[in-house]
């Protein structure tokens, strides 16, 4: 087993995903410990070749093929499995995104490399790599050791690398088999943009499963009205169609960083926390005192949201009219 740390660089529509800097930062730190290199893998169809020079890695492995025009799981697996066989890295890092979730397990099964999923901590201790991972919906953490292998890393687990670019770019030939894939890319569908952009808001009133039904969204709308903010949602609310998908905060929705984020009836699944934990002020209203949302919130209450939200709306309106 080698000492390099291989990092898959995720990129969409000509832009590198936030996770790349976080993963590469960690990779360089680990590479320093193992005495290897932080290798960034950039799979592209030529149009994104220029992204390579900006990556904070020791070396960028640039693989060009038209099959990489968009993320296509089978093509990526072929390329990554090939690189892992060729370079024999100590660790391969992918982000725990759709891309990473799609690749990590498949690569593990194909290469027999162990996999630590939902990883939030990575250290090298001599011969072993120690990974800390979220399990049971984030309620517990698991510390595991493995000789090396693959880790799919939760967003925000590591600080992004500082200082960028200047890595050696090494062109690598595309693997065989990309010509006869069993899948093909059909279309990229962008979300509707007619709705408000929640990432541009200073104040978000976010509702979760605890809101009960679409009819109760009104409570949050009223509070948003009193604060001059906008209503956003966690995944279950968007899935149920109570609010449009464009309002969804979290891993599969938008990542937001408002000045004020009021979470109403949101328990705080890791996927949701990922999308809002950087807000300046977080207030959580949830009757379950053990809800993980309270771990990231600055202020919290276990009073019923159906009582607190209208009362808060009233208090704010009263203050406004008194002023």
């Amino acid at each position: 087993m080698g000492n390099d740390i291989l990092v898959l660089v995720e990129h969409h529509a000509g832009a590198v995903h936030d996770s790349a800097a976080e993963l590469l930062g960690k990779a360089r730190e680990l590479a320093a410990a193992t005495g290897g290199e932080a290798l960034a893998v950039l799979l592209h169809d030529g149009s994104a070749a220029s992204l390579a020079s900006g990556l904070p890695a020791d070396r960028v492995l640039s693989v060009e093929h038209e099959a990489f025009a968009h993320f296509l799981p089978e093509a990526y697996v072929l390329a990554m499995a090939g690189l892992m066989a060729d370079r024999d890295p100590r660790l391969t890092l992918v982000a725990n995104t759709t891309v990473g979730m799609d690749l990590a397990g498949s690569l593990s099964a194909r290469t027999s490399a162990p996999l630590a999923a939902y990883c939030i901590g990575l250290e090298v201790e001599g011969d072993v790599v120690v990974a800390t991972n979220q399990v049971f919906g984030g309620k517990l953490h698991a510390e595991v050791e493995m000789p090396g292998g693959i880790a799919s890393v939760v967003a925000g687990a590591f600080p992004p690398a500082e200082g960028a670019g200047g890595a050696t770019v090494e062109s690598v030939g595309a693997p065989d088999g990309l010509g006869n894939l069993r899948m093909r890319f059909l279309a990229r569908v962008e979300p509707e943009t007619s709705d408000v952009d929640i990432t541009a808001q200073d104040i978000l009133i976010s509702v979760g499963r605890g809101i009960g039904g679409d009819e109760n969204i009104e409570l949050a709308e009223d509070l948003a009205g009193a604060l001059g903010g906008v209503v956003s949602a966690s995944r279950p609310v968007a899935d149920a169609g109570w609010l449009p998908k464009t309002r969804q905060v979290g891993k599969s929705g938008r990542k937001v960083k408002p000045k004020l984020y009021i979470a109403c009836g949101i328990s705080g699944a890791p996927e949701h926390l990922e999308g809002m934990r950087d807000a300046d002020l977080i207030i959580a209203i949830n009757t379950d005192e053990n809800a993980p949302i309270f771990d990231v919130a600055h202020f919290g209450t276990t009073e019923d949201l159906f009582d607190v939200v209208p009362a808060l709306t009233e208090a704010l309106e009263a203050a406004a009219s008194a002023a």
Binding site: G213, E215, N216, E218, A240, T287, D304, D307
Partner: protein, 739 residues
């Protein structure tokens, strides 16, 4: 054309009258021909209805048949169910007059027919008993009752003209493409008109006859007829003219009467016949103890049996009693008026539901209705084609989900219709088809997985006891006298948890031996069953019965009236049950026995809300009032109290459904009702769901009083135990004797 006046023939006869006076033989023949047709139409009409009932599922309603008949007859002749309720006294009297008058006239006509066509036919003219004192008694009785009949019909007609809200046929929910119930109104007026016409032409005929006969003295025994005859004479009508007119009037009366008979099975008049049957077969416990779904048929000759629908999908899924009940409805509108769903703007009116079903069933069966039906431009609702699913088709799902199962409609119905079991039957079909709104679906899944509506781990069930400075025994580990079935809300809802701790403390300090099932308790399933999730209900029953089995106790008390209802009335059908009572009943007994003593009257001015499942379902109205009295509270009753209470809107699973589309929640209306009582300190409740519902409603409405659970006051009034126990009850449960 007219035969010679009969007065000459009868001049010297005894007191009597000619039955077919002035009527030629061919006319008599024609009359009997028409009578035969009318009778055939009548019998044919009811025959079709009976055939329809026979298509329904079985319902065992033939037990105690004599008692049922006596009950129905006495209720009808006392007009007990019609007179019930405020402002219904006058209606009861008028309707009673009509009913008694009609019965008398019917019996009178029957007697006459027996005498004319039977006695005289076989034993000769002399055998007639329609003469002498019998005739005179007959005359005076029928005249008086006939007058009562006419007066009653006029009174009810005038009331109908004044458009009371109960007789407003406007639907609770306007169908998308509109509707027209003019036919129903015209049908009603046809009925009223025919009755009035029959009464008036009867008296007119009598008057004309007396005038034509030259006022025989004995006819003074027909005071109304005699007076009319005098009037006829007064306007200058001679005997011969009167005789001619009588002949014409006789035909008018006869055709009207025969027409009426023929119309009975196809108009509102059918209630004359069917409501007796419906009141005889009604089962007042059917909402308390819901019927189980149709059992799977025994598998015959190897082929797998076709499973019956779990609920009401097709016409055949209604029981014969339900089909009969549909026909029994008189559109009196009382259910429409008391229904909390209707009152809060939900798309349900029990009346509309029954009428829609009736119209759809009858048109599916090809039974015509004369005028009495709703017209719609679209073939939906009551006009939906044959074979349309009943639940979710003829009756929209949203209508069915709106019911709180408060049972007010069943209680108020004068003719014994049981709306609630029918609604639950239709809900069962919706649940079976997965037609369940998301919030309710989540709750049902919580029940299946955690055994409670709150989606909490069952191990958290007894967590409310943590704040107590004593430990409540686990009844599965040590024997106790009372098993406390706490229920979901009292276990998991924060407001009610406080009440649970208070009740626990009171009982503990009174030295009562009681225990819990801890994580062994499941939701009792009362409202799960009323949502229509019968399978889940059965699962919960099995789990609770197993938990009871594993515990040692003498009787059960519940916090929740809903749990009380199903444990007390429905569980015995599934397994052995010990007595079940409400905690207010237990506390009253402890007061009576002296285990609890009060010495500090609170003097608070309060009102008390009767929970539907306690007061209306189980008749427990005294115990809470005794507790209030013991607490030294001054009780001011709301207009709707006791068994006539008004639902908070939470029952029947409504608490797990969306209530935001209501115009005004029932709980808010109720709070306003209490606000109309003048100054109040507290709005007192004895049900954990009420505590939640009314605390919210009082806040929304901005009520000047606080909503509190009943033991809040009791606790303040209690003699608190001395630090050193004085004459405390035995701590060993085995020795603790009660009642």
């Amino acid at each position: 054309m007219i035969t010679e006046p009969g007065m000459f023939v009868l001049a010297a006869a005894e007191e009597t009258r000619e039955v077919f006076e002035n009527v030629a033989t061919w006319e008599k023949g024609l009359f009997y021909g028409l009578a035969l047709i009318s009778t055939l139409v009548f019998l044919g009409g009811f025959g079709r209805r009976v055939r329809k009932y026979r298509r329904g599922r079985p319902a065992y309603r033939f037990d105690h048949l004599p008692r049922r008949i006596v009950r129905a007859v006495s209720r009808i002749y006392a007009q007990a169910t019609v007179s019930r309720g405020k402002r219904n006294g006058i209606v009861g009297v008028a309707h009673g007059a009509v009913m008694w008058g009609f019965t008398a006239l019917l019996i009178g006509t029957t007697i006459l027919a027996i005498d004319t066509e039977f006695v005289r036919l076989f034993w000769g003219e002399d055998a007639s008993f329609f003469k002498g004192p019998f005739y005179l008694t007959y005359s005076v009785l029928l005249d008086i009752l006939g007058l009562a009949f006419v007066a009653g019909v006029i009174t009810l007609g005038v009331r109908r003209r004044s458009k009371p809200p109960t007789l407003d046929y406007t639907r609770a929910q306007e169908p998308e493409h509109g509707y027209d119930r003019g036919g129903m109104r015209r049908g009603d007026w046809l009925f009223v008109g025919l009755l009035l016409g029959l009464g008036l032409t009867g008296f007119l005929g009598e008057g004309l006859r007396i005038r034509a006969n030259g006022f025989p003295d004995f006819e003074e025994w027909s005071p109304v007829g005699y007076t009319i005859a005098k009037g006829i004479e007064g306007v200058g009508l001679g005997a011969a003219t009167a005789s001619d007119l009588q002949h014409v009037n006789w035909w008018v009366h006869a055709v009207m009467a025969l027409g009426f008979v023929a119309l009975i099975p196809f108009t509102k008049a059918m209630h004359l016949v069917l409501d007796f049957a419906n009141l005889a077969f009604t089962d007042p416990t059917s909402a308390r103890r819901l019927p189980r779904p149709a059992p799977a048929p025994a598998s015959g000759n190897g082929s797998p049996p076709t499973m019956p629908n779990p609920g009401i999908l097709a016409l055949e899924d209604l029981t014969w009693k339900e089909l009969l009940s549909l026909d029994a409805c008189t559109k009196c509108g009382r259910c429409h008026q008391v229904c909390p769903a209707k009152a809060s703007g939900a798309p349900l009116s029990p009346r509309d539901l029954i009428l829609d079903l009736r119209q759809w069933v009858d048109s599916s069966e090809g039974i015509p209705a004369v005028l009495d039906r709703e017209a719609r431009p679209e073939a939906d609702g009551p006009r939906a084609p044959q074979g349309t699913p009943v639940a979710g088709g003829v009756i929209p799902s949203q209508t069915l989900w709106a019911c709180t199962t408060c049972m007010a409609c069943v209680e108020v119905c004068p003719v014994g219709i049981e709306h609630v079991p029918t609604i639950v039957g239709m809900r069962r079909q919706l649940v079976d088809g997965g037609d369940v709104e998301p919030m309710l679906q989540q709750t049902l899944q919580n029940f299946a997985q955690q055994g409670n509506s709150h989606g909490k781990s069952s191990r958290m069930r007894a967590r409310w006891t943590k704040g107590l400075d004593f430990k409540i025994p686990d009844a599965r580990k040590e024997p106790v006298e009372y098993l406390w079935f706490v229920g979901d809300f009292a276990s998991f809802d924060e407001r009610s948890q406080e009440a649970s701790r208070r009740v626990a403390t009171i009982l503990h300090e009174a030295g009562i031996s009681f225990g819990l099932l801890h994580d062994g308790e499941r939701n009792a399933g009362n409202d799960v069953r009323r949502v229509g999730e019968e399978g889940l209900f059965e699962l919960l029953v099995e789990q609770n019965l197993a938990a009871f089995e594993s515990a040692e106790f003498r009787s059960i008390f519940t916090t929740d009236p809903h749990s009380l209802n199903t444990l007390r009335n429905e569980y015995p059908e599934f397994g052995d049950m010990r007595p079940v009572e409400h905690y207010t009943e237990l506390l009253v007994r402890l007061l009576d026995e002296g285990a609890l003593q009060v010495d500090r009257p609170t003097g608070a001015r309060v009102t008390y809300h009767d929970p539907c499942y306690l007061a209306r379902y189980n008749g427990v109205t005294d115990a809470p009032r005794k507790l209030l009295a013991a607490s030294g509270a001054h009780l001011v009753e709301m207009p709707r109290n006791g068994a006539n209470t008004f639902c908070c809107g939470a029952g029947g699973g409504r608490i797990w459904m969306d209530d935001s589309k209501l115009t005004e929640r029932p709980s808010e209306q109720r709070i306003k009702e209490a606000m109309g009582l003048g100054e109040l300190d507290y709005f007192v409740v004895a049900c954990p769901k009420d505590l939640a519902m009314y605390s919210d409603a009082a806040k929304t409405v901005g009520a000047p009083f606080e909503v509190i659970e009943i033991t809040t006051l009791l606790e303040r009034a209690l003699v608190r135990p001395e630090p050193v126990a004085v004459g405390a009850a035995p701590s060993d449960p085995a020795q603790a004797e009660t009642s």
